[in-house]
Every structure is written in C-alpha cells, then in structure tokens.
Subunit: 189 residues, 2 copies
C-alpha cells in the first residue's frame, strides 16, 4: 500500500524508486481498530500519521468532558497533534479511529533527518504544511461563520467523500449544530 | 530595519551577510497607516507580509457584516491570507492595521524562487509554517474552549505583549465575549 505515499510524493516532487525505498524505510506501518487512539490527550506524541486507509477524527475534550471536533483525516491525509509532535509537548487533542485504519508513522527525528538529506523532501513537507495551514484557516472560518448552512457547505468542499460515511452525530458535533438542524441541511441539498 | 528579518533567519538557519543581502533583494518595503488594509476580502493577494513594526488584525466579515477576528500579528510575525497567497485565489479575509505598520513584502513567486535556490531557505519557511500551524491549531482550540477564562488565558500565552496594547472592544471580539465579561477577566488577573 506504500504506493499511496509514493503517489503523494510524486504529485509534488520527482523521486526515484531507490530514493523512495530509502525514504519509506523511515516510516513504520501500524494498524488500528475502530475506536482505538492514535494520539491521546496528555500523552507524548511520537509520530505524524499518514493514512493508508480508514478515517480518524481529532478532537478536544473540554473540562466538562464535552467533545469538540477539530478535523477529520482520510486516506492519504496526514494527521497528528502538531504542537506536541514538533515541540515535544504532551498532546492537547485526541485522535481516534472512526473505522479500522492503517497508517504509516513518521517520527519527528526521521522527518528532520529526511528533510536535511533531501532538499526535495523538505520542499514536499513545506508544501504539505502550507496545505494544512489552509485547512486550519478554513476550519477557523467555519467556526466563525454565522450560519450552519455555510459551515455545512464548507464541510462539503473540504471533505466531499466524508459526508455519507460519517455518523450523523459526529458530523453534527463538527458543525456545532443539533441533529435536527443537520437533517434540515441534508434535505435542502 | 532589515536586521529584524535577518535575526529571525539566524534563529533558524546559518546565513552569510552576502546571502542575506541577496535574499533581502526579493522583498519590498511598504509602510501602512493605521486603518489601511494589507489584504482586502475579494481581492488578489500578492504578498506575504513580515512586520517590521506595528500591529495588524486579520478578520472575516460574515454576510451580516459582522467582524470575526482570526489572528493578530506584531513585529517579526508573518501574515497574509495564505489560501489566496499560495493558490492564487481571491482573499476571504481582511487584514488591516491597528496602528501604523511597516512591512517587508514577499511575493509567492519570490518565495518559491528562494526556496529552490537555497535548501536552507526552504528549511526556514517549513519551520515558520510549522509554527503557524500550531498558532492556527491553538486558535481553533481557543474558539472551541468552553469558557471565556480559558480563551483569555490562551490569548495571554499567544500574544503576551498585545494585551495592554489592543483596544478593548477588539480583544473582546477576538475572545467572543462582551466588554463587561472582558473587564471581569482583567480584574481577576
């Protein structure tokens, strides 16, 4: 399944087969069951996760135990708690699996090593990080948007393949609306 | 004032004086008055802005004309509408000056050129973009936090030098609280 990663590299940079094999050697493969955690609030974060299959959500639990969803990730997306990952802090968010999920794991040390060794890899990760910036800015705009309809439309733009797949109460939570409001939004599409 | 930029580069990468002069040649200097715009909603975004002095806010105006503040930027921060800047779209947000502000402007073409020419510059911008990711994730967490007190405390962590400087109604808007609630938060510090 590593071709999913190779394809993503090749969309951004030129990479030789032997280079890709070397790079892939810095990743480890892991399989998680539905409901298992990639990242847990308060714990050390070793890896950035590249999804080979499945679907995960990242969320924040407030002091009353209420879950606030930040983002989802699907096949060929990267996800972790980046503050914890980059700066060796404990995680503030949780990331768990909405279905069985396979990932390639990259430690921050290996990421920095690859970036030092290959200018092209540094370029690749800069571009991916730019893209994540945009996703995060859009999430902020979605949270600030006044209407549930706008938030729903932003969601459709950002995660077109996710809308049918996601449990309705999770999607409602992400959008910050009741399930009844969500049903109304569905029916007007 | 270009030493502010040089100092920021030198915190992350080793850079020779003649290299820095070459890099600086890819920036242009601009001065904005209080209330002027760096970026306007609906317009083309040419530059990423590195602040030499002053203070700006980025905000989104919803369909009812209500202003929602995303982020602030101060001396030695970078700011623009990154989706518009990276992907040649029109801006969704506005960025205007809370006081007279001097900036160095970098076009996306020049950013990409410098990143191609110097592996170190690519490294620098990757690291800065990582940092921005964390700021954006923290902004999301601030918006999702249930209590105004938590939002205020996150703000103090992120912008320690800004709290005394900012008009109270702007800070209240950023925190999503009334001015009365903000006064209460101040008085308990």
């Amino acid at each position: 399944m590593s071709e999913i990663l190779r394809d993503q590299f090749q969309k951004i940079i030129a990479i030789q087969p032997e280079e890709f094999d070397y790079i892939l050697g810095h990743f480890t493969y892991k399989k998680f069951k539905k409901h298992q955690f990639l990242v847990q609030d308060g714990q050390h974060v070793t890896f950035d996760y590249f999804l080979l299959s499945g679907c995960v959500k990242s969320y924040y639990s407030d002091e009353n135990g209420k879950m606030h969803i930040l983002l989802f990730a699907l096949k060929d997306w990267w996800i972790t708690d980046y503050e914890a990952y980059y700066y060796q802090k404990n995680a503030i968010v949780n990331i768990d699996c909405l279905e069985d999920t396979e990932v390639l794991c990259l430690s921050n040390d290996n990421r920095e090593k690859l970036c030092r060794e290959f200018h092209q890899i540094e370029h690749f990760f800069r571009k991916k990080t730019n893209r994540r910036n945009v996703a995060l800015q859009n999430r902020i705009l979605s949270l600030l948007s006044s209407s549930a309809k706008q938030r729903y439309e932003k969601f459709l733009l950002e995660y077109p393949s996710l809308v049918q797949k996601l449990p309705k109460h999770i999607l409602a939570s992400y959008l910050g609306v009741s399930r009844e409001t969500l049903s109304r939004l569905y029916s007007t599409k």
